[in-house]
Structure formats: structure tokens, C-alpha cells
């Protein structure tokens, strides 16, 4: 099974890198670009477990390491 995890900053948490990207896009001439937010994508493959177990493990991985839930949200796509 392949999993893709998206980690994004919670709304309301300042994202200075997103702001810098937004500004750079403006410099490139892309007008009307707002609210750029930068995040992370983590891909991984899971073997030797049921889908149910995979979902439970992924959630645990996100809570314990992949995301810092003080400042970040995460979503899990399992295929």
C-alpha cells in the first residue's frame, strides 16, 4: 500500500515561507495570487499489514513524528 501524507500549517499560524513565495510570484508577474501556504508531502509504502492497521499506523506516525499538531494539520491518502 502506498500512502501520501500532506502536512500543512494550521490556519492562523503565520507561514513566512508562504509569504516569501507569494512575494516571489508577484515579482515574476503573476498578479492576483493570495494566501500562499507551504506544506510538506511525505510518501511511503506499507507492507505486511491490513488496510485497517495501515490507517491506524499512519495516524500514529503523524501524531508522533510526521506532523507537529501544535502548529500543523495532516491528511492521509492511502491507495
Amino acid at each position: 500500500m502506498k500512502a501520501r501524507i500532506h502536512v500543512t500549517l494550521k490556519s492562523g499560524v503565520l507561514d513566512p515561507q508562504g509569504k516569501a513565495i507569494e512575494s516571489a510570484l508577484g515579482h515574476l508577474g503573476f498578479a492576483g495570487v493570495e494566501n500562499v501556504r507551504q506544506g510538506k508531502v511525505i510518501e511511503l509504502e506499507l507492507t505486511g499489514r491490513s488496510r485497517e492497521q495501515a490507517e491506524a499506523d499512519l495516524q500514529s506516525m503523524c501524531e508522533r513524528l510526521l506532523a507537529n499538531t501544535v502548529i500543523e494539520n495532516y491528511t492521509i491518502d492511502l491507495t
Partner: protein, 220 residues
């Protein structure tokens, strides 16, 4: 006083803090590699500055799960004081020993200079040698010192006297100008500035000395 300095891959202030501890307290700290599973008997654990694991994923995130951190947590739960400086502070928040998180500086710049700090709480194990209301000058050198916690958590920290150091001129966007905090039982402290770099007049200052003297007085 027996102190331990944890060495992570890419710690770079481990020797500085060992020198500071040795110079001020007279005892030679034991350097413990992050991959070790056991800590020697000790009165103080220091997590030093640096860029552990190249700041991969998030600053301090990997180091927070190093084998030795299980032992550090167990010791902290038993009341052994833990001091985290710069990257050490980031490791403490990532490991849950201190609340909140340290994010990329709001201006995206690596800030490396001396800053003025107010010692907000001079009634801690670490700060009792500073006079009440003291203003000290201690250098910072970081890219991720922008302290964040939700408003309720910040109010709790303020209300309980857990904000120990505050920037007088905020260099990184840190919430409520917070430079250093202590946990609820007053044993675990994290701060972004580097007190170990100001223990010699020849190197620019001595405002770090009272911190190490204070620890020694209480723990010796």
C-alpha cells in the same frame, strides 16, 4: 554537581556548554551520545545548541525521538532538571517536555547577534542569581526561534510565571516576545539565547555566568 550534556549528530554547542559548566561549576560534565540508551547518574541534563539531524522535517523533531530521549524524559519525570539551549529548546518542545512549538523566524532570516533580554522570573532554579527585573545581554543564533502556542497556552504560561526570558527587541516574531520558558514544576527550562557564550569578558560578556552559578548553588 554531576551534569550530562547530550550530543546529537550536528550538535555544535555541546563543547561550549561543557566548558561553561566546567568553568563555573568546577565539575567536568559527562558527554552522552544520543544513540546511547542509558544516562549516568546525574543532577542536571543539558540539551545543547546546534542543528541536530540537519533540522530535517522540523527543528528538533528527529532528536526528540533519539534513543537517549526516552531516558531524558524518564529523568525529567523524576524531577531531574533539564536545560535546553537553542536547538535543545526545540528538542524539548518537540518531545513534549515543554509546551508550544518553535517555528521559522517570521522574517525568514537567520539571526545571529547579541540581544537584550528581561529575566521575567528570577525565582527559578536557573535564574535566582539574577536581580529582580534584570536586563541581560546574551547572543542568539537561530533560524527557528519563533515561539508559538495558542492564546490559552500563552495565558497559562504567563499566569504561572513560566515565561522566564523575554526579548526586549523581538528578533524572530516570537509570541509575546518569549525567549525562554520553564515547565510547570520548574525543573525543565528551554531558551533560544546562548548563556554558555557569555561567560568570558574577552568573548563579549558575562551575563551567562549567574545562570550556571545558580544551577550549581541549588544542585551542588
Amino acid at each position: 554537581m554531576k551534569s550530562v550534556v547530550i550530543v546529537f549528530p550536528a550538535s555544535n554547542c555541546d563543547r561550549d556548554v561543557a566548558v561553561a559548566l566546567q568553568k563555573v561549576t568546577g565539575g567536568q560534565p559527562v558527554m552522552v551520545w544520543h544513540g546511547d540508551a542509558q544516562l549516568p547518574e546525574c543532577d542536571l541534563i543539558v540539551l545543547p545548541g546546534g542543528f541536530s539531524y540537519g533540522d530535517y522535517l522540523r527543528t528538533g523533531a528527529m532528536a526528540a525521538h533519539s534513543p537517549i530521549m526516552r531516558e531524558v524524559k524518564t529523568h525529567a519525570e523524576r524531577g531531574v532538571p533539564v536545560l535546553g539551549i537553542c536547538n535543545g529548546f526545540q528538542v524539548l518542545t518537540e518531545s513534549g517536555l515543554l509546551p508550544g512549538a518553535l517555528m521559522t523566524n517570521a522574517n525568514l532570516k537567520f539571526v545571529c547577534r547579541s540581544v537584550s533580554l528581561r529575566v521575567e522570573n528570577t525565582d527559578t532554579l536557573y535564574t535566582h542569581k539574577y536581580p529582580v527585573g534584570a536586563s541581560v545581554v546574551i547572543p542568539v543564533a537561530h533560524h527557528g526561534g519563533n515561539y508559538f502556542a495558542d492564546e490559552d497556552a500563552l495565558d497559562r504560561l504567563e499566569g504561572e510565571g513560566q515565561v522566564v526570558f523575554r526579548y526586549e527587541d523581538n528578533p524572530n516574531g516570537s509570541a509575546r516576545d518569549i525567549a525562554g520558558i520553564i515547565n510547570s514544576n520548574g525543573r525543565v527550562m528551554g531558551l533560544m539565547p546562548h548563556p554558555e557564550r557569555v561567560i568570558e569578558p574577552e568573548l563579549g560578556g558575562t551575563d551567562g555566568i549567574p545562570l550556571f552559578q545558580g544551577i550549581m548553588e541549588r544542585l551542588a
